[in-house]
């Protein structure tokens, strides 16, 4: 690839051209920088502004104080999404491992089947659970037909957690899978050579190397779980309110925008702090980019 180039001879000319390059290059990012300032930074400043003002725009702390009414909701949301995240990890980690051990052709097929639900609309996926679990749904119809009685599932915490696991499981599997497939298989062989059995080799080599994937998986399940309002609205049957529901309700009415902004601000800080803490555990710089695909 590298052809011998007389560097001395060319460097002057290249340098001369390079002086002009950054101008065009820097200007290229300007539209995005302006856009980001207007529509990413400014909106977040408005959340802060609304959180600390009353309806007429005067400074107040009452919105923040009003948060104490919602402590129960916060605790409920955090615990539900933590449970859902743990379940996703318990199912997702072995799933990622099994897929990564399959043949190449098989892997592609399985990953395609795993990714397809991710592209299906969340509302549809959540609602499809309703069609099964509802009192008049398929599951209860089958139970009735076999004479086993009925199960009231919708409206329980279990249904909401199941919905979160069902909707976000692929987000746990994919990052773990992509980290696992990149692992050097000779490391495992080395562990065998050094006297590890299969289980030991897994826990001493594969698992520690999968940590960056696990961390992204946890973030990608936890963040949408804690902020959801559709899942709890549908599968919670109108009796379970999470932070997302509370925020959504505050924004139905202009009078409560300020309280809604305060709740969102607290949730955002909570999430950003936990993501930052999590990311300290994985020193993989590219993990944020690897998350999407």
């Amino acid at each position: 690839m590298n052809r011998p180039i007389d560097k001395e001879k060319f460097s002057d000319k290249v340098k001369e051209k390079r002086i002009r390059e950054p101008l065009f290059a820097r200007a290229a990012a300007y539209p995005h920088i302006v856009w980001a300032a207007l529509f990413i930074i400014a909106p977040l400043l408005f959340v802060c502004y609304y959180a600390f003002t009353d309806q007429s725009g005067n400074f107040t702390l009452s919105n923040i104080q009003a948060l104490s009414q919602h402590t129960g909701t916060f605790i409920l949301s955090v615990s539900y999404s933590l449970i859902a995240t743990v379940i996703c990890l318990i199912i997702g980690y072995p799933l990622a491992f099994v897929i990564s051990k399959a043949s190449r052709k098989r892997q592609n097929l399985l990953i395609m089947f795993l990714m397809t639900p991710m592209w299906m609309n969340l509302l549809i996926r959540t609602y499809s659970l309703m069609a099964i679990l509802d009192d008049g749904g398929l599951l209860n119809a089958m139970l009735r037909a076999t004479g086993l009685g009925e199960l009231h599932i919708i409206g329980t915490g279990g249904a909401v957690i199941f919905g979160m696991v069902y909707d976000f499981l692929p987000y746990m599997v994919l990052p773990i899978y992509s980290v696992m497939t990149k692992q050097d298989s000779s490391l495992i062989e080395a562990a065998y050579d050094l006297g590890c059995n299969r289980l030991q080799a897994h826990f001493k080599v594969t698992l520690p190397l999968s940590v960056p994937g696990i961390i992204s998986g946890i973030t990608m399940v936890f963040v949408p779980s804690i902020s959801t309002f559709y899942i709890s609205q549908k599968l919670g049957g109108g009796t379970i309110f999470l932070i997302g529901d509370t925020i959504e309700m505050q924004f139905q009415n202009r009078a409560t925008y300020n309280v809604g902004a305060a709740i969102s601000l607290v949730m955002m800080i909570l999430i950003l702090v936990s993501v930052a803490v999590m990311n300290r555990f994985s020193d993989d710089e590219d993990s944020a980019g690897g998350v999407i695909v």
Binding site: A28, A29, K101, M130, A261, G289
Partner: protein, 268 residues
């Protein structure tokens, strides 16, 4: 061990797909029940297609997805080029961090933060309805941008940086070099980013929910309003069609990428 892992795969994928399969099945049901299949009929499909709201929502969704994908691709590609060439490390890091905010933040926060901006600015301008197609378009471009940038940046890093330099040595201006050399090298990344932006925009509910006005409804918003009240199987029919389209697209892209890898191998 092998039987166990196979059973595990079947179980998980079964749970993943059965609810959707049930939804598809009951979209062809002749009665309203989701517990009892009374007979095959296309009743809900005809009912769905006889409502003008369906077509309006479909048209709106496509317009929004195409416009936001194109705008995000242009701004995002330029941004990736600019970020790639930035000399100042701290500036680069700052721009990337800000770019990643919409990806890190929960959708609901992105949605309400933009809504607050639009409502505030709209109030200052004295508009009665500050939310419209335009606010939705801005919101969609904003959440699409990081995905475009993150698909173009790796292609720029992979590209041999001597190529544009060689083009400039041969007399190209930096802009010409960009269009003649760099653009070709990063085109796959641009296309991936554009496809991603398009799909994300089609699929988005939460951010659209907070930034949409009453006069512009997209398909996800239509589905939401359909499940809000008494649900009729129209919604199942609509969901079935949307799932079928996505499924076909997934298989098609999978097939295409396989063919491309084969072609790449053959070229070598």
């Amino acid at each position: 061990m092998k039987a166990l892992s196979r059973a595990f795969l079947i179980l998980v994928f079964g749970i993943l797909y059965i609810p959707m399969a049930v939804l598809v099945l009951f979209s062809f049901n002749s009665s309203k029940s989701t517990g009892n299949f009374t007979g095959f009929s296309l009743r809900w499909y005809t009912e769905l297609f006889s409502t003008p709201a369906t077509f309006a929502a479909l048209r709106n969704t496509l317009i929004l997805a195409v416009c936001s994908a194109i705008i995000a691709t242009v701004i995002g590609t330029l941004a990736a080029v600019g970020i790639h060439k930035m000399k100042n490390r701290y500036l680069k890091k700052a721009v990337m961090s800000v770019t990643n905010i919409p990806m890190m933040n929960p959708d609901i926060v992105t949605g309400i933060s933009m809504m607050l901006l639009f409502v505030f600015v709209g109030g200052m301008l004295g508009l009665k309805n500050s939310l419209s197609f335009w606010t939705m378009l801005i919101a969609h471009v904003t959440f699409n941008l990081p995905y475009v940038i993150l698909s173009v940046l790796p292609k720029l890093r992979q590209m041999d940086s001597h190529l544009p330099e060689a083009a400039m040595d041969l007399g190209c201006t930096p802009v010409q070099a960009f269009f003649k050399v760099e653009l070709h090298a990063i085109l796959p990344g641009i296309l991936t980013g554009m496809m991603m932006a398009f799909t994300l925009s089609l699929d988005d509910f939460v951010i659209s929910f907070f930034t949409s006005g009453s006069d512009f409804q997209t398909l996800p918003l239509l589905i939401y309003s359909m499940t809000k009240k008494d649900v009729t199987p129209d919604m199942y029919a609509l969901s079935t069609i949307m799932m079928a389209v996505i499924f076909a697209l997934m298989i098609l892209t999978n097939f295409k990428s396989k063919r491309e890898t084969k072609k790449a191998k053959a070229d070598r």
